[in-house]
Amino acid sequence: MRKLRVAVFKLTSCSGCLNEVIYSMMVHPELLRYVSISYFTELQDLNAVEEVDVAIVEGSVVNSEQEELVRLVRERAKLVAALGTCAVFGGVQSLRVGEDLRTTVLASYPNPDFIRVSPDVKSLDSVVRVDYRLPGCPVNGESLARLLVKLVLGGTETPIHESLCSECKRKGIPCVVVLRKEPCLGPVTVADCGALCPSFGRGCYGCHGLNALVVDKGRLEEFSRVVERLGMSRDDLRALLKAFSHASLSRLSSAG
């Protein structure tokens, strides 16, 4: 079998999803035999942006250098996978979007040249075409491993788009909203975390991203009312959605 050529790039993030890449190789050590990694600064010294089959990109795009890099990566990769909530939606750093960079941040920093950030925090697909999206803060390492194995075998995953509640119920986890009257973003959040937070008895805070294929502005408004009654202010809900679904949320807003 020809080796699958993979490159792993990190943009602005906590690097956590990179560790899930490493994890996927730990649980499938044989992957290393079928994969050749041409770029992965966290793991190796030799790094060149070469032609690859798959580029895995983690992190959000926050400056023009990163935009350039991402465009180069797109040119040289057959497939591009956005890995994690930062790459798919922007990530927690999106919470700063909307504040004036120049007057606040740059003014306070001794050498503005080193602060290379744009006012917006962009998802990968707002800069280049993306073939796979694996959200999650962090991405679910098992899902990533499944995808990598399938890519090595020459196929891909068949995406299923459903809410976290589906996973919750399949696992028989008690509903924190209905049983405990706690705010939970599960109903509007994309599945794939294994209904993690509810399984620990707490509400989901939406780290896998807003189920934007279903939840439009009106439905989000209805949902806001529900969580408000459960004790989460609109501001707080808005902040969570901005933190973990910035790209979707801004599309919703601009869609009017």
């Binding site: 499938h28 044989e30 992957l31 035999r33 079928y34 499944r146 194995v149 399938k150 090595v152 075998l153 196929g155 068949t158 995406p159 299923i160 788009h161 459903e162 809410s163 976290l164 509640c165 589906s166 119920k169 399949r170 696992k171 028989g172 008690p174 509903c175 909203v177 209905v178 049983l179 009257k181 939970c184 599960g186 109903p187 509007v188 189920n211 294929l213 279903v214 939840v215 009106g218 439905r219 209805e222 949902f223 529900v226």
Partner: protein, 359 residues
């Protein structure tokens, strides 16, 4: 043959559990796990959720300690046992030679399930008639013991769907707890033999009379829907009205909780996985028609908008099931109302459809 009623007290329920267990059966019932109502194996009367009452409302479920209370159900239904949420289908390691997964067919008894649950099993029996995996689990059910609903919950409407509050068929034993007494009746020969083993006396006439009264009252309380015929007609008439369905589904967020808790929702999606040593596995798992992917194929989508999937859900329950299997797919258990985080009331929706039709 006139119906024979037997009377006992709650210890007879414990005895019944013992007899079933004595026959090597796993007895599955609603039980409490800490403070949570689950559906699982019980060993004795103590494990049953007797002495608790479930207070249900739209998006609200509370379990209260209440000696005289009545426990109905939770987000679990017998579906968890008969049509498991995640099921292995087969594994292939040697080329494509697929080996079917094993299904646990250890014999079991369903105990204390409610008439709506029983009706739901009948629906599943018909709609999954040619599903080997369902049939394997289903045929492991040796006995069904139903607890009739002397007190319907606030989200129940089995009186309207004709699936409760009394059990009408397909069970072995039915019992009703009436003010400290338990009234038993058999639904099958095997059930009758079980009751005989309990050595209960015939029920006194006044208890049977009381039973009839209580069930009648329960039926009245749980009949809050317009007549089923009217519902079906109104749903058919409204199907093409996009505006109406958009409006009716405006509060739905497509989370599919209703699908998951519905005791008759049977849809599944297949999941394929592979490893690099040449092994492949195929599984299936519950899948809700409210989820985005339902109706999607590569390159196009047959129900791209949520209102379409919501309409399918409602029409399927009341109209399409009827045509598919000759039974309504909604058994009036009210779970979809209780466990909808948005608190959408299917009963209310259906009433709106009817008044929309006549308006």
């Amino acid at each position: 043959m006139p119906m024979r009623y037997f009377a006992g007290d709650s210890s007879a329920l414990g005895d019944l559990i013992s007899i079933l267990r004595g026959r090597g059966l796993a007895v599955l019932s609603y039980r409490l796990w800490g403070d949570l109502p689950v559906f699982g194996e019980v060993e004795s009367l103590r494990d049953l959720s007797i002495g608790y009452s479930d207070v249900q409302g739209p998006a609200s479920y509370r379990l209260v300690r209440d000696e005289r209370g009545f426990f109905r159900h939770s987000y679990y239904s017998p579906k968890y046992a008969l049509h498991p949420p995640i099921q292995d289908i087969y594994e292939a390691s040697n080329g494509l030679r697929a080996v079917p997964a094993r299904v646990d067919t250890a014999p079991m008894a369903l105990f204390g399930i409610k008439p709506c649950d029983l009706a739901a099993i009948e629906v599943l029996d018909r709609v999954l008639e040619s599903d080997d995996f369902y049939r394997a689990r289903r045929s492991a059910v040796a006995y069904i013991v139903v607890e009739e609903c002397v007190e319907p919950g606030d989200t129940c409407f089995c009186g309207s769907t004709g699936t409760g509050p009394a059990a009408s068929g397909g069970f072995d034993v039915a019992y009703a707890r009436l003010e400290g007494r338990v009234l038993f009746r058999a639904g099958s020969e095997r059930g009758l033999r079980l009751l005989e083993e309990l050595k209960l006396g015939e029920a006194p006439g006044d208890l049977v009379e009381r039973y009839d009264e209580v069930m009648e009252e329960a039926r009245r309380k749980s009949s809050r829907l317009p007549p089923l015929d009217a519902v079906i007609k109104a749903l058919e008439d409204s199907a093409a009205s996009e505006g109406f369905w958009r409006e009716v589904s405006a509060r739905c967020v497509g989370c599919a909780n209703c699908n998951m808790v519905c005791p008759t929702c049977f849809c599944t999606e297949f999941i394929d996985s592979a490893d690099l040593s040449g092994r492949a596995r195929r599984q299936r798992q519950w899948f809700g028609c409210l989820s985005y992917t339902y109706g999607q194929v590569a390159g196009m989508h047959f129900r791209p908008e949520l209102f379409m999937r919501y309409r399918h859900f409602v029409l399927h329950k009341f109209v399409f099931y009827q045509r598919q299997i000759g039974l309504p797919g909604c058994v009036g258990c009210g779970r979809c109302i209780t466990w909808c985080p948005m608190g959408i009331d299917l009963g209310e929706v259906v009433s709106r459809v009817v008044s929309h039709g006549s308006g």
